[in-house]
Amino acid sequence: MSERSERILDAGEVERVLGRMASEIVEATGGAERVGIVGIRRGGVALSARLAQAVAGLGPEAPPVGSVDIALYRDDAATALPDPKIGPSVVPFDVAGRDVVLVDDVLQTGRTVRAAIECLLDYGRPRRIWLAVLLDRGGRELPVAADFVGRTLEVPAGAKVRVELAEEAAEPGDGAVLVRAGETP
């Protein structure tokens, strides 16, 4: 089966988009001292570190960073476990009273975000939860909306979107790639 891939974002664009999102986060929340950034495993983890770095560059303080794994909060956990692996959730700061920005690479159905919100609430009661995603590809199955979006792009359900950050990609440099499968059988 052949695949055709298109580059949606290149390294320079990822950098610029993250910079803009960081400014929006600081503006919306009123500064890093009240913000915590939590990546949704696994796609949102490297991105959350990047975003935290960008936010830190805009103010006196670096926001604390954590990560959540949604395996235990999936809405199909008890019926089907083709992949029962649970990753660690690490929230090394008190979320109570903070503005917490959940970060994921791609937003599609909204089910992952629903689960991540529920997980985060088990660590305390944030003042507000925000959602930041690098790519909003459409295809929502739950009423979920992102507050900070890098790029919006309507992608058909069969296609895949891959976000690769330099720190975890096989190839050097950041980027987001749209992969359309099944061009020829």
């Binding site: 235990l72 909060y73 956990a77 019926t79 476990l81 029962p84 692996k85």
Partner: protein
């Protein structure tokens, strides 16, 4: 790389591969943190039913399974024989069929007869977890011990582990020996000749000693076993004081073990018999870590078995 858990039941360690054990321990590692959160409950097994069926007295195992189920949001029901129809003469078969009609997803059973959990697994259409059967097996105890050792030592591979005391009556010793041999541990058994079965060394591929010192030499891990006064007859042991003098673990006796050797006990402890109180409460003791690990390991077992719900299990699988 992950895969679905391949077993419908957890009946003994013998049925498990090294890979299965690692999968359970890794899952437990991820679940360990849940019990330390402000909200110690996740919604994973919402709508699932777990019945704890205990035919023998138990505090920690029953409480541990109950909390494990509840922290995963399963509906958990405890049935102890003292307050059940078993007192009125109901057979195990009829109890199985009665409970089955209530549609549990998992039955956790402790029973005085070896093999009782296997019998239940054959006669009920749900997953069965052995919480200790006679002198046969106590798989979740061996798993939580392995979890505790791995956390403390970083690995299980190749460790020198001494298991000391009443091996004959101990399902804990049997399950632990099986599991540790899977990881190539050097397992040394130490106990009076009357309390170590004759063919134990060959059956479990371990070394057997009639004195503590050679078993403890250079050991990474020292496990004390409880003297099971309820299963013991006078003929096997002259007196508890005599036993404490020759096989009781103490700081002095541990002189030959590694400096960072840890001391374990499955509980409940007979302080001053198989273990000296100072050792039990001292810095080498990981007894309370074992208890904490127990909840995480049992959560992992319930989680992995509940995930197998697609294929309605009818009997034990694997060798």
């Amino acid at each position: 790389m992950t895969r679905p858990f391949r077993h419908p039941h957890l009946l003994d360690i013998t049925s498990l591969t090294t890979e299965d054990v690692v999968q359970i321990l890794d899952t437990a590692e991820a679940l360990f943190e849940v019990s330390r959160r402000p909200v110690r409950k996740v919604p994973t097994l919402r709508g699932k039913t777990v019945i704890n069926l205990f035919y023998e007295a138990s505090t920690r195992t029953r409480t541990s399974f109950e909390l494990a189920g509840k922290r995963l949001s399963a509906d958990t029901v405890n049935m102890s024989t003292a307050s059940s129809s078993v007192k009125k003469g109901e057979s195990l078969y009829d109890t199985c069929k009665t409970l089955e009609a209530m549609h549990p997803d998992i039955v956790v059973i402790r029973h005085g007869a070896s093999g009782a959990p296997h019998y239940v697994a054959k006669n009920m259409r749900c997953s069965v977890v052995n919480a200790g059967d006679g002198m046969h097996a106590h798989p979740t105890q061996a798993l939580l011990d392995a979890f505790t050792i791995r956390r403390s030592k970083g690995t299980l591979a190749g460790l020198k582990v001494a298991i000391c005391g009443d091996v004959a009556h101990s399902r804990v010793a049997r399950s632990n020996a099986r599991l540790l041999r899977l990881f190539g541990c050097d397992v040394r058994i130490a106990g009076p000749r009357t309390l170590v079965p004759k063919h134990f060394a060959e059956a479990f591929d371990v070394s057997v000693y009639e004195r503590l010192e050679p078993a403890l030499d250079d050991a990474d891990v020292v496990m004390a076993l409880r003297i099971q006064q309820e299963r013991l007859s006078q003929a096997l042991l002259p007196s508890l004081r005599e036993y404490a003098r020759t096989f009781g673990l103490s700081e002095d006796r541990l002189a030959g073990a590694k400096d960072d050797a840890i001391v374990m006990h499955p509980g409940p402890m007979n302080r001053g018999v198989e273990i000296d109180p100072e050792l039990a409460d001292g810095p080498r003791s990981v007894v309370l870590d074992q208890v904490e690990a127990g909840v995480a390991v049992r959560m992992a077992v319930l989680y992995l078995l509940a995930g197998d719900a697609g294929a309605a299990p009818t009997g034990p699988r694997g060798a």
